[in-house]
Symmetry: C2
Subunit: 449 residues, 2 copies
């Protein structure tokens, strides 16, 4: 968000001062300022930017605003802006623009940039190929350190990162990597191949973006090469993209757990909100027919012992929470790669152990709470409620652990097992056990109320 | 996690081969391999590493294993390892070690490293001062580009990043920043002060780490300077720490929403699991006395219309899910900085709009479901259930939005408003409304069942 200080320095009424300020500020701040302006003023503000600042700011604008500017600026200006975008950002923009506009813009790009964009757009969404950039520093094996540094100096200043250089053979096959740091700390006449490391951490174009992000995080890389099936270097992925990917993935995990289909934003329009949430709600209501059906046959029991209706929601809410706790910890640990399905037995053992302690505590609390409402002759109900609360706790930690682990083992998204699904299952099991036992007590042991 | 390929290459039975492999692999992989070994073999494997690899690997070991090695290696070796750690990693280790060991190690460190560690440990946990490193490149204003590059070449090769250099005046006050890239692309006789940018994005030592991470993400920085109250440069924060901070924050948000007090791991020992979850469970059971008390006075109503006990759990589960959906989207949007409390009205408006559509759909579904179990003379119950489901939906989106926004406005952690708290409130309101209306229908309008 823009700080108040920046906001105060920007006033669309004083164009001269605004022009000065807009050209001093960080591009991301200017981008946010322009996006917040009313539609008509956006192009005015954007035209105040000098050439380099305009190029930088353009990349930070939301796609809708980019599209708007493309329609309102001169053609030559548009082509220049789009030509200067980094290929990955451009691919993202083209993905959203109408096909006609993309075709027209592509024709006006330089052959290299057209090629770069088409390459990236050729890979499926969510893969390394789609998020990589084709601007990187490539060196031949035979160079010396001094030659390499001169070559880097001659590169286009716009390469996204020059902090790693990738060494390839004549077929563009990736053979090693050398950091700018190594180059600077080595005598100029040393051969690149003597200092470059052949142990290159790399990914294939089809590697899913989450995996790319995890690998770069694990090895503390600020850039990582992407190769094709023949091990030829085709691009690099930079750390700024990784940060965004990890954040996206976390948001998806959080939202799915709550029964929202990924990446809704607080300010998404209402119809998007409905589309992302309502199917889950209806689905869960449908599944809940199971839990309600578990209660239905016992209506006479409840009529005879109405305190049951007071007690049942307590263990439904608590049991659901126990299940969601275990589910959330498991899904997040899978998500950040702390554990794998191979750890299932180990995790289940510890969950059951912790569950035992929890079951004891919750069971006793349940008895205490039930006694608040149970009439003297109904006290035996409290004991059964406590026992069912305890067993339901054990069932909850078991389901909360095994369900996501199972999905992960079958190569499905563990976060598909959302919280409401688990609470629905737990309610069904809990109500059935509780009411069966109460019924048994009433009919077989002839306990009275 | 270690790939199978790496795992296969490592066999503790063949020490010569193992030594060769361990010295070729990435330090993080070796660290993981050593941590997974039985305790007795860890020191053996670690001693196979050559000097540089040992230093690198040591930083990647979990604190328990670091501590174990400190106790089992020779003193001189330990001092060397600890001396060569980066100051921020060392501070993290010292934080966990027994005070006696820290005191002994501190005494054996070089004066500079001792100073660096004490500085970092002097800042409170979770602040910029605590996660920064004191190893960075500092330049005086008067230097030329050529002199600056020579100075960088003479630096200790261990500086965490050399990709930005920070320019200070005689009082160490931060005045500008220059990237290595700029230095490489400029003629050697140009003065630093002519190319360095005075618009430095920086944070203060006391800035919370989440904010640090958000700022670096926003401005796409791979390092950011940390200054004290007098604007003097005291350290830098690097992007690898930011990635870890963002991940930690996301985990905390996810777990708090589920009623787990932050950062539990799937493999945390059972007593930690109990400590992080049980207080929430007991607290929620305690609060649920409210919801149960809302039902208690209506026991006779339920005895008279036992289908209520079948229907009530459906709208409790669904209403809770609606609330958690809104809560989750709001908390996550606040967490990633997409929205601020200033957007409350805008978000509430859209939630209510989406809520209306949802309320209609859920209300009608509720009627349909209730009719499954309602006897012919109880059909009016279905209508009331539908109406209450609809109003409860509106209450749910309102609470799910306003509660976290309110906490944020009062500078509290919005994620304190966990899912189970919201479902508990919604149940209380929902049961009370539903049963009051049924009771009204029975007693005032004399509807029959």
């Amino acid at each position: 968000m823009l700080t108040q200080e920046i906001r105060n320095s920007l006033d669309i009424a004083d164009l001269n001062q605004l022009k000065y300020n807009l050209n001093c500020l960080q591009p991301v701040d200017v981008g946010e300022y322009i996006s917040q302006l009313p539609e008509k003023q956006r192009a005015i503000a954007f035209r105040l930017l000098n050439k380099d600042q305009a190029i930088d700011v353009f990349e930070y604008l939301p796609t809708e605003v980019q599209e708007e500017l493309i329609n309102s600026l001169h053609d030559a200006q548009v082509v220049h802006l789009v030509e200067e975008m980094s290929p990955d950002e451009r691919a993202e923009l083209f993905d959203e623009l109408p096909a006609g506009v993309v075709k027209r813009l592509l024709q006006q790009l330089s052959p290299e940039q057209r090629q770069a964009t088409s390459t990236i757009l050729g890979y499926p969404e969510g893969t390394a190929g789609r998020v990589m950039t084709t601007e990187y520093v490539r060196l031949r094996r035979g160079l010396t350190v001094g030659e390499a540094l001169s070559k880097i100096r001659l590169q286009d200043e716009d390469k996204e990162t020059i902090y790693y250089a990738y060494v390839t053979d004549d077929n563009r096959t990736l053979v090693s990597v050398v950091s700018l740091r190594q180059l600077l700390f080595t005598f100029p006449d040393v051969l690149i191949k003597d200092i470059a490391s052949p142990h290159v951490v790399k990914v294939r174009t089809e590697t899913p973006q989450e995996e790319v992000a995890r690998i770069m995080q694990r090895y503390d890389l600020i850039a990582m090469p992407v190769v094709d099936r023949e091990d030829r270097l085709v691009g690099i992925i930079t750390i700024d993209d990784v940060v965004d990917i990890l954040e996206e993935e976390a948001t998806e995990d959080i939202q799915k757990l709550a029964g929202v289909s990924g990446d809704e934003e607080a300010l998404s329009p209402a119809h998007i909100t409905i589309r992302k949430r309502l199917p889950w709600l209806l689905g869960i209501m449908g599944l809940y027919i199971g839990a309600a059906s578990a209660i239905a046959p016992f209506q006479q029991v409840i009529a005879a012992v109405p305190v049951l209706a007071v007690i049942m929601p307590i263990f439904s809410n608590t049991g659901g929470t126990v299940g969601i706790q275990a589910l959330t910890v498991t899904i997040r640990s899978l998500g950040v790669g702390e554990v794998t399905p191979g750890d299932t037995a180990k995790i289940l053992r510890k969950e059951l152990l912790a569950g035992l302690g929890t079951a004891l505590a919750l069971g006793m609390t349940m008895i205490a709470l039930s006694l608040i409402w149970a009439k003297p002759q109904e006290r035996w109900v409290a004991l059964i409620a406590g026992a069912v609360m305890a067993t339901n706790t054990m069932v909850a930690v078991t389901l909360g652990t095994l369900l996501p682990m199972g999905l992960k083992r079958w190569k499905l998204d563990p976060a598909l097992m959302s919280g409401p699904l688990v609470t629905t299952m737990l309610d069904t099991i809990g109500f059935l056990t509780f009411l069966s036992m109460i019924s048994l007590a009433l009919n077989v042991f002839h306990l009275q109320t």
